[in-house]
């Protein structure tokens, strides 16, 4: 399988605080990877380093076999940040405009024809079930609906890999369930690799295929099945994290 992301010996310090220590991790095409760990374990920092938003103190990241410096095909990467729904409710931007940001802000070399863009926006909204809301202002939608719109923006370029950082914070359990079902469909039907950062190990349990468990260092990286019987999993549970059991 093709490696889409290679994290090679990445460490990160913030002042005197060691946030990440010598992380080695590969993400392969087709994975539905959950990056798990308690609060403050460095999950979001790792994600930001992978996306080039933070520079590592040591080590490097390869994106699709290229160094971040040489990587230009940003349309192949989708990202939904933490607290994406904490937006200014009066920001005058329609659902359609939010999704268009993802496709129309690409470098000219990556952009497709205008007609293709309109169709891609339409299809992305359809994938997340928001096509009937396209003219509404984003601030008028519920948190769950806004999150779907941000997914649409992240997949509008048909990326190879989609990163989501704590995407269901503040969303009710039923909406969370529907949300992760939707992500699983995107992973399986659209063949988009998904990397999900979360501290909630329960609700995502039925979908993820691989786990990277983090607590400053990488304490587990492997299949989801083996993770459930691993010491890392027990430690995570002992730390007060709850498992919601689902049938596979």
């Amino acid at each position: 399988m093709e490696s889409l992301v290679s994290v090679e010996g990445v460490s990160f310090r913030f002042g005197h605080h060691q946030v990440l220590n010598d992380i080695v991790l590969s993400i392969y095409s087709g994975d539905f990877l959950g990056i798990l760990g308690p609060n403050g374990s460095g999950k979001t920092t790792l994600l930001k380093i992978i996306l080039g938003l933070l520079k590592p103190s040591q080590g490097r990241v390869l994106l699709m076999q290229k160094s971040q410096h040489d990587f230009t095909e940003w349309g192949k990467i989708g990202y939904v940040p933490q607290n994406a729904t904490h937006i200014d409710p009066y920001f005058p931007v329609s659902v359609q405009e939010v999704v268009a940001m993802g496709i129309k802000s690409l470098a000219p070399s990556e952009r497709v024809a205008k007609a293709g863009e309109a169709q891609a926006i339409q299809e992305a909204l359809k994938h997340v079930g928001m096509e009937s809301h396209r003219t509404r202002r984003i601030g008028q939608l519920s948190g769950g609906q806004q999150q779907r719109v941000f997914i649409a923006r992240a997949i509008v370029n048909r990326p190879r890999i989609l990163f989501l950082d704590e995407p269901t914070t503040g969303v009710d359990a039923q909406t969370q369930e529907q949300f992760y079902d939707m992500l699983a469909r995107i992973n399986q039907d659209e063949k988009i690799t998904i990397v999900l950062v979360t501290h909630e190990i329960g609700i995502i349990n039925k979908h993820i295929t691989k786990v990277a468990c983090l607590n400053q260092s990488l304490i587990y990286h492997g299949s989801h099945g083996e993770f459930c019987s691993s010491q890392a999993f027990k430690e995570l549970l002992e730390g007060g994290h709850h498992l919601v059991s689902h049938r596979h």
Partner: protein, 268 residues
């Protein structure tokens, strides 16, 4: 009734004012949503020193003001980034320093105080033909760049982190927005004066943001309000023998107030 249109000075004022108004209106929407409304006010104060330098050295003040405003805008941006200052703190420091330099230069050379008065309070009806063409060219350049980078500007204004992760060159675009703002402030200075230029940048855009459900609509309403204010303001100024800068700003405020009431009733 339309006799004012036959006067050369009025034609020049109207022509320049219309283009500058649209540039201010489009840029203003981004500035407000980036919580950068005060940058116009700050750079306007700095242009006071630029104008004073121009008058002192007998160079076209528009040029010296433009260079100083662009440089100061970029310095404010760097200071905010490197020194970790809040945006409004950096603006306050540099705007007051710029104004202080202006006052100092005026006191050293008292023979241009009358010219400076026109820059402080605006005197668009006295705009020269050369200044008209310069203003129109610069305003068109601002409008072109804003429309050319409309989507990445909107993306970084709405969600900076996602824009960065999508490969948008946010620092370059920040710099571009700063340069456009500095140019627009200098253009606006000619229309309504240093003391009121921030109004031309902020009030039409704020009016547009009251009612718009989309970004495009916000920019369109903002442009219409700016055009209404400049054209109506010049008309009132001519027939009422009133200062054009004041009538322009007060008309813009009237539109903002009206839209604010309408928005309140819609929500109510």
């Amino acid at each position: 009734m339309m006799e004012f249109l036959s006067y050369g000075f009025f034609q020049r004022a109207l022509f320049a004012g219309v283009f500058v108004a649209v540039a201010c209106a489009l840029l203003g929407v981004f500035l407000i949503l980036r919580r950068d409304s005060m940058i116009g006010h700050g750079l306007a104060h700095v242009t006071f020193a630029g104008v004073a330098i121009g008058l002192m050295l007998q160079i076209v003040p528009l040029f010296t003001a433009l260079i100083l405003a662009v440089l100061t805008g970029l310095i404010i941006m760097k200071v905010k980034e490197k020194a970790g200052l809040y945006g409004d703190t950096a603006i306050a420091i540099f705007s007051s320093t710029g104004f202080a330099v202006g006052i100092l230069l005026v006191s050293l050379s008292q023979d241009f105080s009358v010219d400076l008065f026109a820059y402080l309070f605006g005197d668009i009806l006295a705009i020269e033909t050369f200044e008209v063409w310069l203003s129109v060219a610069l305003a068109l350049a601002v409008v072109f760049v804003v429309l050319r980078y409309y989507h990445p500007f909107m993306f970084l204004t709405f969600d900076r982190e996602s824009a960065m992760a999508s490969g948008v060159k946010v620092k370059r675009l920040d710099m571009l927005l700063t340069i456009l703002t500095a140019i627009t402030v200098v253009l606006g200075m000619k229309v309504v004066g240093i003391l009121l230029v921030a109004a031309l940048l902020v009030i039409p855009a704020a009016a547009g943001l009251q009612l718009a459900a989309s970004f495009k609509l916000a920019m369109a309403i903002s442009a219409v309000v700016a055009l209404f204010s400049v054209i109506g303001g010049l008309f009132l100024s001519f027939y009422g023998d009133l200062p054009a800068s004041a009538t322009i700003v007060l008309l813009a405020f009237s539109a903002f107030f009206l839209f604010y009431i309408i928005k309140g009733q819609k929500r109510g």
